[in-house]
Amino acid sequence: MTIPTIIGAGLIVIGAGYGLGKIGSSAMDAIARQPEAAGKIQTAMIIIGALLEGLAFGALILGNN
């Protein structure tokens, strides 16, 4: 593992973390505004969260090699 890979993987994880926080906060706002749509919002939130998570894990695994 070289220094640039570590920094690159770290940057990607920071980005993914920021994205996850943004999704979470927006979903919270949306649920507070429309509690009856909570189920649908949650599903959409989890899907986008999973996509981001895949990105972060991909970075970690590629950075590890």
Partner: protein
């Protein structure tokens, strides 16, 4: 009567909740005496990188290294089903699995502890085989050695390996359980459309309906029925394998990249083989954009075809692998921190951390199965969708 039944249920639930604690048996149970330096064990020999594969060699190894190697060993596939090991006696408790090789014809023999952990050479049909780092190599004779190149990679010939490994055994177990559960569920519908399932099937029915109503119907549309068998299989297989990984059986099937590659490949084939004209048109000749843009978009869309299943496989593999390493690492706290915290303190801390994390892992087990099925149905939906606007 009711109270008796209730307390039985409670007992069963408590026992089930205690299962992760029992899995600490997977980390060496007889490690009480010398904590700083331990003799190199059979397991350590098997997993040590860049070291000779002789079981007789004794090297000093610290506790931390031992734990690390044990976790690495757990995350790998194995040709011998070992539940736990005895470090001092160099013994593994488990059962042998059949080895199936194709090398000048079919070679079938049972693996043994000596073959997998102690580097014994096995003869079958006039050929000699030796085990090294989870792979089987062909050697010259009964005392044949593995020849290494400059980077310490073996140069011996490798026969084609179709063995029933630990993961394959785990997959068989999961399929058997699924088969039994769903036959029970299917049988109840013979008694009429409103018959109530009994036993384990009653727990499966709501999950089937959940997959249908929350994933298949909203994402695929009215054609959802033909894809239900695949979505249900994939959901229940992943969910059950994830849960089996949390039991003391020591399975790590969905944390093996070959298994997740295979599952993602199925989704890839399913999406692309059921794709309609619109789907292919959107990939190669995106409608509604200028011609230069169409040319630019085509390679990006083709790349997208492959990145979707790739992210599916990486997500499942990485989540389960990370979960298993963290749980095993926390169990290892009981051994590593023994000197600093005294034995009861170390075991107590390790117990509570592991308990907490195992509950989280149950959530992750469900979430990963959900996500895999959800995204699969989303991709299938995008492939079979009909567009009205052109």
């Amino acid at each position: 009567m009711v109270t008796i039944k209730k307390s039985l249920h409670l007992l069963a639930a408590v026992l089930f909740a205690m299962m992760p604690a029992v899995s600490s048996a997977n980390v060496d149970p007889v490690q009480q005496g010398d904590t700083v330096h331990v003799e190199q064990t059979a397991i350590a020999v098997e997993t040590t990188e860049h070291e000779a594969s002789h079981g007789e060699e004794h090297a000093e190894k610290s506790n931390d290294q031992f734990v690390k190697e044990y976790i690495d060993h757990h995350l790998m596939d194995d040709h011998y089903y070992s539940f736990f090991g005895d470090k001092e006696l160099h013994k593994h408790y488990g059962f042998a699995l059949p080895i199936i090789l194709i090398d000048n014809g079919l070679k079938v023999f049972m693996s043994s502890e000596d073959f997998v952990y102690k580097g014994k050479v096995v003869e079958n049909g006039g050929q000699y085989f030796k085990y090294y780092h989870g792979k089987i190599y062909e050697v010259d004779g009964p005392n044949g050695e593995i020849v290494y190149d400059a980077e310490h990679h073996p140069t011996n010939k490798m026969p084609l390996d179709f063995s029933i490994t630990k993961n394959v055994a785990g997959l068989f177990l999961a399929s058997l359980l699924l088969f039994l559960g769903f036959t029970a569920l299917a049988k109840t519908y013979k008694n009429g459309p409103n018959a109530l399932p009994k036993g384990i099937a009653r727990g499966l029915e709501p999950l089937v309906i959940y997959v249908r109503d929350e994933m298949a119907k909203p994402n695929i549309g009215h054609k959802y029925k033909q894809f239900m068998p695949y979505l249900l299989s994939v959901f229940f297989l992943i969910f059950l394998l994830n849960l089996l990984g949390l039991t003391p059986l020591g399975l790590n099937v969905t944390g093996n990249i070959s298994v997740t590659v295979c599952l993602a490949l199925f989704t890839f084939l399913y999406v692309n083989l059921s794709g309609n004209k619109d789907y292919w048109k959107h990939i190669f000749w995106m409608p509604g954009v200028p011609v230069p843009m169409k040319i630019v978009l085509a390679p990006i869309e083709v790349l997208g075809m492959f990145t979707k299943p790739f992210s599916l496989l990486i997500r499942l593999f990485a989540n389960i692998t990370a979960g298993h390493s963290v749980v095993m690492g926390l169990i290892a706290v009981a051994y590593v921190m023994q000197e600093a915290l005294s034995t009861p303190g170390a075991i107590g801390i390790s117990f509570f951390l592991t308990l907490f994390l195992t509950f989280l892992e149950i959530l992750v087990a469900f979430l990963q199965a959900f996500i895999f099925t959800m995204l699969s149905s989303l991709f299938i939906g995008s492939a079979v969708q009909e567009h009205d606007h052109h």
